[in-house]
């Protein structure tokens, strides 16, 4: 009998691993179990579908079940829920939701790619029909339909993280009056407060009302109840972060790590033999602190899935780690970050120097030059670049990749200011904004010289 890989979860991590194994091992039987009806769907595209920028929800599907079946001979089984794992026997119990039956599927290798789900704290009224979570493409289709119908005028987004501000943008695009509420004193908790303040200002400039430092106490008949009053809302959207789907693994006795994510090693192995995990349900190693972290992002899911697949396929690969790179936009404001923020750096034992440079995305005289603020953080002792944050107009945020690459390389500020980056008037000032920030930080070390 052929060797068999069973993949639980038909999204980024699972299908990356499945595809990788298929490329390396034409002989292996690859089965992918997916609870829903779609594979390889881009949940990160949901806000843009709700906004009306992406016409059909199925446009968010990168590869359909039939494409996996026909082109890659991957046995994709939809509406199939793994309900138990027997690591000793090497078998998964599968619930076929369509046919309402249960069967056992043996595996030689198992990849758990069950992803994450939105957090839904037990706030009174949270289950009302006008309070929406954002999880599946079906949720997305329903929200988009309601937004398009014109019945939604006033939207309250609960949570000012990435999903929250992206959903805020979506409803601004739909012409709604949007308020974002967060119990924290700033939006985007992964940014330093000064940079988050720039984002808040950008959101307000786009007409979004931002209420910070105030928790939601309940949802009551189209009113969001706050500590200091109520906000009327045709719709409330939850953007309170996600938690890993690791219950199945935990029930099977597999070790969990931070935030309840499935603990994996550099090769994506779990604590159980022949059981691998990747993506939003798994931990990731932070390259700068060496610690396991929970960092649910589509890119990481794809990268980890690839690494797991290479290892399952019989070769050797390790995951290169994360440095916390993230990017988004809210209306005209682009945002990105990488590496350690001030609080993270302090927690990791670094004493940091920081600088914020305000510059332009193009030469000052070139039309369409947008504002860009770049913050860099470096270790005071070694001068090593530890992280960076960018807030600005169009053409700002993707420049974070330069900082991400430099942080990965372990460059110090001296190296940064002498990088051979690209310059022409339509693309950058002659001193690149990233370099300008590093020059400013360098002045801390050497008065006058920069």
């Amino acid at each position: 009998m052929a060797e068999r890989l069973v993949v639980i979860g038909g999204d980024a991590a699972g299908m990356s691993a499945a595809s990788q194994v298929r490329r390396m091992r034409p002989d292996v039987d690859v089965v992918a179990l997916e609870m829903g009806t779609r594979t390889s769907y881009a949940a990160c595209g949901i806000p843009y579908h709700v906004a009306g920028l992406v016409p059909e929800v199925d446009d968010l599907v990168a590869r359909t079940p039939d494409e996996f079946r026909n082109r890659q001979r991957i046995d994709v089984r939809l509406r199939s829920q793994a309900t138990a794992i027997d690591t000793a026997a090497g078998a998964v119990e599968v619930r076929d939701l369509a046919r309402d039956r249960t069967y056992t599927l043996g595996y030689d290798h198992l990849l758990i790619g069950t992803g994450a789900r939105p957090v839904r704290p037990p706030i009174p009224g949270i289950d009302a029909d006008w309070v929406a979570g954002v999880k599946t493409l079906d949720d997305s289709a329903a929200l988009a339909a309601r937004a398009a119908s014109g019945e939604i005028r006033r939207v309250v987004v609960v949570g000012g993280g990435y999903i929250g501000i992206e959903m805020a943008e979506a409803f601004v695009e739909r012409g709604c009056a949007v308020t974002v509420v967060d119990a924290a004193p700033q939006v985007l908790g992964t940014l330093d407060a000064d940079m988050a303040e720039r984002v808040r200002a950008g959101m307000e400039a786009a007409g979004i009302t931002v209420r910070l430092g105030v928790g939601v106490q309940g949802f009551d008949d189209h009113r969001v109840v706050l500590a200091d009053g109520e906000l009327p809302a045709d719709l409330a959207v939850l953007g309170l972060g996600v938690t890993p789907n690791s219950g199945l693994a935990a029930d099977a006795g597999i070790d969990l790590g931070p935030r309840g994510a499935i603990r994996v090693d550099r090769r994506q192995r779990t604590s159980a033999e022949r059981v691998w995990s990747a993506g939003d349900c798994a931990t990731a190693r932070h390259l700068l602190t060496g610690e396991d972290v929970f960092f649910p992002l589509g890119t990481i899911a794809n990268r980890q899935g690839r690494v797991a697949g290479i290892n399952i396929g019989g070769s050797y690969a390790t995951f290169g780690g994360v440095i916390g790179t993230a990017i988004t936009k809210v209306c005209d404001t682009e945002v990105a970050r990488t590496g350690l923020g001030e609080a993270e750096a302090a927690a990791a034992g670094f004493e940091v120097v920081t600088a914020v440079a305000e510059s332009r995305t193009r030469a000052h005289y070139y039309p369409g030059a947008e504002r860009i603020a770049v913050k860099v953080l470096a270790d005071r002792r070694s001068g090593r670049l530890l992280g960076g944050q960018i807030v600005g107009g169009q053409g700002s945020a993707k420049r974070i990749d330069t900082l991400a690459t430099a942080v990965t390389a372990g460059f110090d500020l001296d190296r940064m200011v002498d990088l051979d980056l690209a310059y022409a008037p339509p693309f950058s000032p002659v001193w690149d904004p990233v370099v300008t920030a590093c020059r400013q930080a360098l002045r801390t070390f050497s008065q006058g010289r920069s």
Copy 2:
């Protein structure tokens, strides 16, 4: 008497050095000699002024003589030409063009930042009034005025390098019929032929006629004479590259390097004591080959000027070298390159693997996703990334900085495919185009695994 720095040339390299010295040494007497009437002008902005995108030519001036005088106490002397250097005596002979007199100026340090000038080969008729070189801001103002007047309909650009294609774009913006002629078999000789072909296609899609492999034999009464015929032209524009202004240095017995550029060491010292050089008139060390090269670009001029200034100011700095990063655009096509091309890599003794990935600048479903082609070159033995080239639509080219940083870091392809780069649908596909190219190149090494 105060120590004196004399700077020859009031543009990027010279004024960067002067500013740096002023910051470090308030006591030093800083004199800057400039033949023309402006300081710190962006010659790279000329095409955009000619195009009409930059209304006034003085918008291209980053800092005026009076700003240098009043804010930095730099004694800027306009219309002042250095006519001889006496390195033994430590003195410069200065011709005051306005007052028609000559005087001698002693120096403790001398910085030669005389820049480069356009090549004008001895082609018959090249000095006709309808054949324009592009050098000074006054040239720019004259060309912009003629373009705005409507008298120019047919333009022939001689030379398909960076300046050539930027001037072609400028006259397309002005509504002219533009032909680019180059004796080489491709445009942009610093790109590999396959990537240059993509640029040519983009130029033709924008309505530019591109004639390759055909030299210009003469200019005769509004006709550009080619080996195989003639092209009528209201205006011919020369874009045949530049040559360093190193005659003054050579006459003083200072060593020259490749292409006649002033040879400098890592600290920007010339062969003469207390004489420094930086910018388009000087050599630069290539980080990958270790060789001195002539690479005249505004960014390098600024970086070298800064390094020279730090050293003149009494501290220590070395120039980080160049890796040949360059960027431009022609109409809707963006172009960038870094590191070694195929021919350069072969000449440097590398056996390369290459890959070209065709991707999109945004998630496939996000509106406004543009095409992007990324080529990467790596050393077959070590897997080390040696260079990259990008051709694509808006939002493509500045991604070259990721490759430039990685080339500088010495990353191999394995490291590249596991970089923690930024992803969100408005900014990138989930696998960044740069990474996709590296994955393809990696397949050369390991069939099936990528």
